[in-house]
């Protein structure tokens, strides 16, 4: 259990201690230990030396703010989105950037996008967005989202960027969905991803973020992406891959080789566990219980190809 992974002396116990201390009473999910110990020899060799430019930093994931939702499951999503902002402001280390994994709005309305911007503008931290299906339901099928966030992106809003040695990839899996299917990336986006990753050494840490899970959580509710494997095949050669999503309004994680999948809580309302209700609709819980089911996820990137430590914290 408690062995050194060779990353300048930070062992699993120290890492867990670091995360727990940082998170206070929050739920702690360290993808770190499991990934390091389960990484295959092939992947370890492929990963090689940590990328020289990489240095420690923190970033945050927020998701499913659903601005405009006003049903009993949470009649005040504005206030709970502000709670997320306060949480981020209170962090001991100011995050370098924020990823919003979609369903920014409930109904893709211009004023809902504006309200979301106004709420998050208090942070003064760069925010990177991907759309959820609720952001793509206008008559123009994403036109409003793209008018707000599409500048400088490819296709229907996908893009990538580098930050301190980490390569971030933003994918859209909510456009042009097919009857009977699940979420979908599409050939154009996968072709772009192939080109985007081609020049990167396998030691580059990768963070992929998209709204709907890129692994099949529950097919009967459409909680998965039907062509995700094509994207994951392109990612397998990398030593450290972290896939972040929202959509299901609950924490779930899974490790598959060197790929860590993680879904974050919503800031708006919870949804039932897979198959635990007749439908995946909003879950009404007692008012006093709601803050414990909403939250944000913060990520500590340590160095090189060390796995990214993810910490989910609720509002209580």
């Amino acid at each position: 259990m408690d062995h050194d992974h060779g990353h300048k002396g930070l062992n699993r116990r120290e890492l867990l201690g670091h995360c727990a201390g940082w998170a206070g009473t929050a739920a702690v999910y360290t993808v770190a230990g499991g990934v390091v110990s389960s990484v295959s020899l092939d992947a370890a060799l492929a990963a090689g030396k940590p990328a020289a430019k990489a240095k420690p930093f923190t970033f945050v994931q927020i998701s499913d703010t659903h601005i405009g939702f006003d049903k009993p499951a949470n009649p005040n999503v504005h206030a709970t989105a502000l709670q997320a902002v306060d949480r981020i402001k209170a962090m001991a280390v100011k995050p370098d950037l924020i990823l919003h994994t979609g369903d920014i709005t409930h109904l893709s309305k211009d004023d809902q996008f504006d309200e979301a911007k106004q709420i998050l503008s208090g942070l003064d931290i760069p925010i990177f967005y991907v759309p959820g299906e609720h952001d793509f339901l206008d008559e123009g099928q994403g036109k409003t989202f793209l008018a707000h966030y599409g500048k400088g992106t490819q296709g229907l809003g996908w893009y990538s960027f580098n930050h301190d040695g980490v390569h971030f990839v933003a994918l859209n899996n909510v456009a042009a969905l097919k009857p009977g299917g699940m979420a979908h990336l599409g050939d154009d986006q996968i072709a772009w991803l192939k080109k985007d990753l081609a020049a990167l050494p396998s030691s580059t840490p990768i963070v992929v973020f998209a709204h709907i899970p890129l692994w099949t959580v529950y097919e009967a509710w459409g909680w998965g992406t039907d062509d995700a494997n094509q994207a994951l095949t392109l990612l397998r050669r990398f030593g450290s891959v972290t896939v972040l999503n929202g959509h299901i309004h609950q924490i779930l994680h899974k490790v598959e080789g060197n790929v860590s999948f993680h879904s974050a809580r919503s800031t708006a309302y919870p949804q039932p566990a897979p198959g635990a209700a007749p439908s995946p609709g909003p879950l009404k819980v007692p008012t006093e219980q709601l803050p414990s089911m909403l939250g944000i996820c913060s990520a500590n990137f340590l160095r090189g190809n060390a796995p990214i430590a993810l910490i989910d914290s609720s509002f209580t």
Partner: protein, 117 residues
């Protein structure tokens, strides 16, 4: 296919159970009888999932969920805007045939209208 389509907010419809039967409405003018059929969208499903109607029937879908849904023909020959809670969409089927449709936001939700002369 000629049709009348509209999305509106008719909260009353949501309160009514969707009858599975086709029934003609009484009209003042002696014209071809107008037929209507209702489909509920509830618990992320179309109910009834498959309906059989006569040509000229207007089908009205009502969203009883707290999540928005759409009615989108697989062949895109008809489609609603996103319907929020209690909103409705109507489409008049004039020609015989089978019309498969789905919710473009939750594509695992599928349904079918069979129009028989």
């Amino acid at each position: 296919m000629s049709f009348l389509s509209s999305v509106g907010r008719f909260a009353l419809f949501a309160a009514m159970a969707a009858p599975a039967a086709v029934y003609p409405l009484q009209t003042a003018v002696a014209a071809a009888p107008t037929k209507v059929q209702r489909v509920a969208i509830q618990n992320f499903a179309f109910s009834p999932q498959v309906i059989v109607v006569a040509p000229g029937t207007t089908v009205t879908w009502t969203n009883a969920d707290e999540d928005p849904h759409t009615v989108t023909a697989n062949d895109k020959s008809f489609h609603s805007a996103a319907m929020d809670t209690d909103e409705t969409y109507s489409f008049t089927f004039t020609k015989p045939g089978e019309f498969a449709y789905f919710c473009s936001l939750h594509p695992h939700m599928t349904g079918k209208v069979i129009v028989k002369g």
